[in-house]
Homo-oligomer: 731 residues x 2
């Protein structure tokens, strides 16, 4: 390509007003954040390992001026120069030699500013970033985000410090383009009802008509050209279309492969030289949200009646699947330092844990391209929320910004096969979110409209949770002490959009973030509190370490390692139970997402199953086991037992795979103080694909044990991939 | 005004193909219906009193050609002639001297066709009406309407014969306009949050700029000019705006007055002469749908949880009110013969019955202007559904028609203060409606978008019922025999969008529609079945006469008069209980609509409380009593008692008025075989506006009675408007 990109050498400094020049400039990394630049220059520890983030507090209320000289550039004949940037966080102006050339509120819209007319040697490009948006100034809290599209999480959350990034968070460069070049290229398709043909179209925008030829190719996943067209455009807009017969279909993880085609569009000069070109990957699939059947509880099938649950079954390529996944939070406080390598290990772990969906929660940013590229490759469906969370969003100015920002987000992401669902935001209809928005709110209706107009084949949900969906709880016992194992089987929800069990971070992380003198026993000390181990959420006073609960369940601890092991045990067994139980409630239930997969900074305890930046907790492996396509599963009546109680557990075969299962047997063995007690052999029948099998109930009177723990082993002779082992506590 | 309107002399005839001229033409009434014209000309009885409607069956499958000569017209200098028509039902072409000048699918969009260029003496204007739209031809049923905006009711319903009107159903005329004239004028307003100021705007479209002056006046409800502006337009579009301070607010019936302002826009010539003018009435009010509080059952306030009910409380001018009303069905099989006089007695009765809302159900047409004008005057809020009902509506062609038709409907109605709510249609999310549409369907999303874009301050509901809303049942007992009095107090819904108790029509009507030899005893004979007395609805085999049930409750009948009295008694007492019970469930419940107010033709039995065309059944008066703003109310445990049972009834004062209530007393008296038994005097406290008071429970062991009925009288000394009398049956 003859399009050339040049990085600029940026510096940045704080200013107390929009029209003042900073007294001090420091070198700026782009993409990045003003806070990181300032901290780097002044030797301030980065927040993830700083004692606390209070030292960063002033930065959110300052103006910040980025500047760079354009002097490096020399333009060839007919070349045109542009300043291009994927996004600036949050309210900003771009100035060229002192003149404002762009003025915008919002971080999700890309910028393209022609420099041709303005460009002169020694020109200075400036980006003035305004203080973080706040709807009020009565104390720091996430309500301040309720009139902006700034992600609410950075205003302070139960797993995130108060720290509001500002600055150029996406790539920025000067692009020098030849006289004829491509302005925008987008390939789209429609699959026919039988999923046998894809009607492909590419929409091309050029800066000049008629001077060159357009060549459009479709390459199959192996790189072979399967379709090719050329055209001589006679205007600056052009649409080519073609039919691809029998495209290989893209499937979520566990349901099939992820073949990715390529749409290549090139601008070819008279001598056959390639002047400009774009590539876009395509995955052919159809994703719908359909109604759960039965869609109401038959025991309550009585007049008067209305619908009870929103459609929440993912139907992919005509097949209804069980969506099992996790809530994704941004993997860094600063989006500016996230790149593909930040995502790679986390997404790989999600795939290996047998997950097929991630809910990109509305409290966080909309992730960068690399995230969606990798999800496309890994078969991870993405439930993408707009940046609204736990607030009442309204107002004319806000709606204007939301309109612009949502259109930019839709335009950027709609080509990704992994993108399965748009959602208005997080918990917007719950009363705790500023009183609760509703279907009547203009922000919700605007998002419904924009997604309909720009992306009509993709489902849209107003928010999560919605009618018929369960959401929470977040620790192992309800406030009244009832165990998860006891209450979840009594619930009847079509989908669990969030469900969490918290667990402590690994000891190596705690050693970095909790000073030695505070470490044991854990207590309400500054470091434990700053890292969310105590009082993070008023729904559970002990959140997220739940230390009092752990002592109640396990007895007194002798050291930190024991605490961590106990807490991680609860999280691992609890989340495994959650996934298996939600799958047992299939087909009424069709979706289960634990809160949450990852975390943005090192916490002391959190519901995440991967500690920052990418260190698995034991729960990840137990989630993997509970999410295996086919497994022998037990529904024990509780986790913690007493001698003399009748141990009971209902047996099942869970199958959400597209393969049928042949008949077989499951041996159920209790391991008590190292001794195996064979309880029964269950001969289960064959079953069709995606069908569970209900088995017998184990019943056994528990003796007095020496050990504090015992195990139940389910063994399927000849099918070791079905084997399961469950651990229990003895009071 | 110098705009002149001329009627045309129409004739109409059937044709077997679009390009064939009818063999026979008959005189046509416009507005009207081809079926009525044909019947009138051929002496066929009109369907309302015809033995059955099968004789009309062929007409729905024919083409029909209307024609009229334009020869009457002579145009003055600079005058322009237009053919204008409010709507043609359903798919049609307009031809001028044989050339197609307009081609449209849909009945709700007005037509305006310039005749200037085409006009010549002896020109012929033709309107070709296509056969009724049908998505399939495998038998007659309302599924055939699932790809059109044709109201589904006329394809056959449980209270409506199979009879699909076709033809010019709205006014049609030739309009001759002066050289300069108004094309479109619309006045709108925005109230500020405090409801103290209205920002008014008038949007004017002219055919020519600058030749004349625009005068815009706002007249108060007494006719005095309170605002006036003049402007000299320099283009064909003009917006004038102004502020009206402290406008008098429009209120629903029972909550305040209905002051109507007038916006008058005139085109004034150089000599001060009025060239053209339009008037629009304005009612200033703000209507929102807000969340019910509490919005979930506190006894179920437990994780995991999502929202349970959609916002369904009508907040009018900042005041949350209890919406009590009725479902409106079209008052005639043929919309073409409906006019203001058809509506007037029905709407007057609704107002006098203390109703404040009518749900214009999606199975029927969107009513004519006179309906909304009268609702504006009477304080009847209108819940207006788009013409979708009990089907799965989809498909690209359908969506195009729905888009056009819905825009026409919104544009026509959005100026009416009585219009309170847009709704996508009837029962669209219920499984019995073609499997059930959902929020994901493009038709629903399109309606949400169009109402947002064209009418953003008015609420929109996807359909009814929705989450948290009750809908049905339609006869006094559930299929298991449980009485309404027993089960409704156990239900917990935020709104009852439909609730019915069927009752027979008055004897004078039965005598017209049931031949003498079939009349008594009622049975599954042709006339009773055709008039919906038996087997009308598979949810209740005896619908709508419920004869077996009546015999079970009342014993054998001796004549038709006794049957009618018994059935009407059940309907009257049942519906009164329904309204009072839903009001007792306030504030969790905020809306109650009985199914239905009226009916489109004479039925033998139906849930309507007014028989066709406008004859009240006894239920209307009992609804009036149950909907009084303030009343002493009893919740008896059942309607039908046995001797020896303990009669129980919970006492309440119901108040949904904007006035507080002073303290007082209620005497409770049972009247048993004419003997008064005083049970208690309840001294109730004072209470604020719109607040109910819970009283004691009456308990009394019932003796053996001679009479089959007995009564409970609640008497409030000094406040006779609160007095209530309830009747009961003794087994």
């Amino acid at each position: 390509m003859v399009v050339k990109r040049f990085s600029l050498h940026w510096e940045v400094g704080p200013a107390t007003a929009a029209d003042l020049t900073p007294v001090e400039f420091v070198p700026a990394q782009v993409p990045g954040a003003v806070q990181l630049d300032w901290a780097r220059a002044h030797g301030i520890p980065f927040p993830e390992f700083a004692g606390n983030s209070a030292g960063y507090r002033w930065m959110e209320d300052s103006f910040w001026l980025y500047r760079a000289r354009l002097s490096l550039l020399t333009l060839g004949q007919d070349e045109q120069a542009f300043f291009v940037c994927g996004g600036v966080d949050y309210r900003f102006q771009v100035r060229l030699s002192g003149r404002i050339v762009f003025d915008y509120e919002g971080m999700f819209a890309p910028i393209e500013i022609p420099l041709c007319l303005e460009f002169a040697p020694e020109s200075i490009l400036e980006i003035l970033v305004f203080p973080a948006p706040k709807s009020h100034h009565n104390g720091d809290n996430s309500l301040q985000a309720n009139r902006s599209t700034k992600p609410a999480v950075s205003y302070g959350w139960d797993f995130h410090p108060r720290l509001i990034p500002l600055g150029i968070w996406e790539n920025a460069a000067v692009e020098v383009r030849p006289a004829a070049h491509l302005c925008a290229v987008e390939t789209s398709y429609l699959l026919d009802n039988a999923l046998e043909n894809a009607e492909l179209a590419v929409d091309i925008q050029l800066n000049l008509p008629a001077v060159s030829t357009i060549r459009w190719q479709i390459l199959d996943p192996g790189g072979a050209v399967v379709l090719e067209q050329t055209a001589k455009p006679d205007s600056t807009r052009l649409r080519l279309s073609s039919r691809l017969e029998n495209p290989r279909l893209w499937w979520p993880n566990g349901q099939g492969d992820q073949p990715l085609y390529t749409s290549r569009t090139e601008l070819v000069g008279r001598a056959g030289e390639i002047l400009d070109g774009r590539e876009q990957r395509l995955g052919f699939r159809r994703i719908r949200l359909v109604r759960n059947v039965p869609d109401w509880d038959p025991t309550q099938d009585d007049f008067p009646r209305g619908p009870l649950i929103v459609p929440i079954v993912f139907e992919v390529n005509g097949r209804q699947i069980f969506a099992k996944g996790s809530n994704w939070v941004s993997p860094d406080i600063f989006p500016g330092r996230i790149d593909g390598e930040t995502y790679r290990p986390l997404l790989q772990m999600a795939r290996e844990a047998n997950l097929n969906i991630l809910r990109c929660w509305g409290g966080a940013i909309v992730q960068k391209e690399a995230f969606f590229d990798q999800c496309d490759e890994l078969g991870l469906m993405v439930w993408q929320e707009f940046p609204l969370s736990c607030n009442y969003y309204e107002g004319e100015d806000y709606l204007k910004v939301l309109d612009q920002e949502s259109r930019a987000i839709i335009l950027r992401l709609r080509g990704h096969p992994s993108l399965a669902l748009w959602c208005g935001g997080n918990e917007l209809f719950n009363v705790w979110s500023g009183g609760g928005m509703s279907e009547q709110d203009l922000a919700i209706r605007l998002l419904n409209r924009n997604t309909l107009e720009m992306d009509p084949t993709r489902p849209f949900l107003n928010t999560a949770p919605l009618y018929g969906m369960g959401h929470g709880f977040y620790v192992f016992c309800l406030p009244d002490g009832t165990e998860l194992y006891q209450y979840l089987p009594q619930r009847r929800f079509a989908a669990y959009s969030e469900f969490g069990v918290s667990g402590p971070s690994p000891v190596n992380i705690l050693e970095k973030i909790i000073p030695a003198e505070e470490r044991f026993p854990p207590r309400r000390s500054p470091a434990w509190i700053a890292r969310h181990a105590f009082g993070a959420w008023d729904g559970s006073p002990g959140s997220w370490l739940e230390y009092d609960f752990l002592v109640r369940f396990f007895g007194a601890f002798s050291n930190l390692e024991e605490v961590v092991e106990a807490g991680q045990f609860i999280q691992a067994e609890g989340l495994r139970f959650f996934f298996e139980e939600s799958r047992r409630q299939k087909p009424y239930c069709s979706l289960a997402l634990n809160w949450c997969l990852n975390e943005p900074w090192p916490t002391a305890a959190n519901s995440s199953i991967i500690a920052w930046p990418a260190q698995p907790k034991p729960a990840l492996d137990k989630v993997r086991l509970g999410c295996r396509p086919v497994l022998a599963s037990a529904r024990p009546a509780r986790l913690r037992w007493k001698p003399g109680q009748i141990f009971t557990a209902d047996l099942f075969i869970l199958n959400d795979s597209p393969q049928a299962l042949s008949a077989g047997a499951v041996e159920a063995i209790l391991v008590l103080d190292g001794r195996e007690v064979r309880l029964m052999t269950w001969d289960y029948p064959a079953a069709a694909e995606n069908i569970n099998i209900t088995g017998p109930q184990l019943r056994f009177e528990l003796p007095q044990l020496k050990s504090q723990r015992f195990e139940l082993v389910l063994h399927s002779p000849g099918k070791p991939e079905l084997d399961s082992t469950y651990s229990f506590l003895m009071a």
